[in-house]
């Protein structure tokens, strides 16, 4: 247990407001991310003990990871220019991500990240 702490971080991710349709119609996901990830947010190469530059896993990496590994269709409905598309609100532990550093927020074990598509119907 103790040795795993440093190498990975497990978080809960939720989708709401219709975004769940893009993710296997499943609202709640549990994900384990590497604690250190490439600074270019590449999600396909395994992070090895090479000399590549790394950073702690942050929300920007999470967005890339979700796009590359969990998204089933139509990436443009979720991601745009390396962040979420306009109209999506990101919450970190029930707080607007803008109060937490947006994409630069480093995810911690047990964090809950929610992606909400704003609704317009009435």
């Amino acid at each position: 247990m103790a040795s795993a702490e440093a190498s990975s971080v497990t978080i809960k991710v939720e989708f709401s407001g219709g975004l769940e349709l893009l993710f296997s119609n499943q609202r709640s996901h549990t994900l384990t991310l590497p604690a250190a990830v490439p600074t270019d947010n590449a999600t396909t190469v395994p992070v090895s003990s090479t000399t590549e530059a790394t950073k702690p896993a942050d929300i920007t990496y999470l967005i890339h990871y979700l796009r590359d590994h969990l998204l089933k269709e139509r990436a443009e409905l979720f991601e745009e220019n390396g962040t979420v598309r306009p109209g999506i609100l990101v919450l970190i532990n029930d707080t607007d991500w803008e109060l937490e550093g947006e994409g630069d927020y480093v995810v911690k074990e047990g964090d809950e990240v929610v992606f909400i598509s704003t609704l317009h119907g009435g």
Partner: protein, 277 residues
């Protein structure tokens, strides 16, 4: 207007003490809360699934004047009659309630005029351009905006431009979504009871604001009828310094007048059914 209203000795007609007694005895509500409601005016924009329950409960609570705005539903004059006579369903409505039913389409050129004079605006509409227009108008007119939205099993509720440094709609969503990423209730579906719950909560937020019971903290309530727990309350950012609507040096009324909201939101929405989602 009843001459008794506002008289210093009898701030409310005597029958109102009986009619509204069950809410007037609530802590923090009291006679002053009822007087505030009787003197308040609320604009409800959109008289569909959100607007109708909101109207009913605002009327039943004793709000003095309600504006109903809906150009798609010319039958809102029936609705007006219905609310005034809807005694069994939502309690006895005050016969002094003034209802303005407006069937002109709200646009950048008339919003400031049509919505001037209301203490509060409820956004019960169903499209993106009108949501930006109402937010900018609420900021320019210095009124809070109680915004509700619903789709499928989901609902969202937020009070914008209220309290110390409360954000406006543009602070939270500076860039509108592409029209192709937006669906309507007709296309995506909606459960009527979801709009009922959100519309009702809009009325309640309005009543809290008008009676001084709202804590003014910027939050959004999100709802999904099938989730456990169904509600989640999100802490929102403060207003953005650089917001073109409410930030430092914002254009205020000129912003409303000079914006083509349909264009700003990416033009007319494509026909959803033909684009394949």
């Amino acid at each position: 207007m009843d001459s008794v209203i506002g008289g210093p000795e009898y701030p409310l007609p005597l029958e109102d003490y009986k009619r509204y007694g069950r809410q007037m005895i609530l802590d923090g509500f009291g006679l002053q809360g009822q007087v505030n409601l009787s003197r308040a005016s609320v604009a409800v924009v959109g008289a569909g699934g959100l607007g109708c329950p909101a109207l009913q409960y605002l009327g039943a609570a004793g709000v003095g004047r309600i504006g109903i705005f809906d150009h798609d539903r010319v039958e809102i004059s029936n609705l007006q009659r219905q609310i005034l006579h809807n005694e069994e369903t939502v309690g006895i409505v005050n016969s002094r309630l003034v209802i303005d039913a407006v069937t002109s389409a709200i646009s950048a050129s008339n919003a400031l005029t049509l919505l001037a004079g209301y203490d509060l605006i409820l956004d019960c509409t169903d499209n993106v351009p009108t949501r930006y227009l109402l937010s900018d108008t609420a900021v320019a007119l210095k009124t809070p905006l109680v915004s509700g939205a619903a789709q499928k099993f989901d609902g969202q509720l937020c009070v914008y431009h209220y309290g110390e440094n409360g954000p406006c709609y543009r602070c939270i969503f500076p860039v509108p979504p592409k029209p192709s990423n937006v669906g309507s209730c007709e296309e995506l579906g909606i459960l009527g009871a979801v709009t009922g719950i959100i519309g009702n909560m809009q009325a309640l937020e309005a009543i809290k604001i008008l009676t001084g019971l709202h804590d003014g903290k910027p939050v959004m309530h999100i709802y999904n009828a099938l989730s456990t727990p169904p509600f989640r309350t999100i802490k929102l950012r403060s207003k953005r310094e650089g917001c073109p609507a409410c930030g430092t040096g914002a254009l205020e009324k000129a912003l409303v007048r000079d914006t083509d909201y349909v264009q700003f939101c990416g033009g007319l929405r494509p026909d959803w059914e033909h684009t394949g989602l």
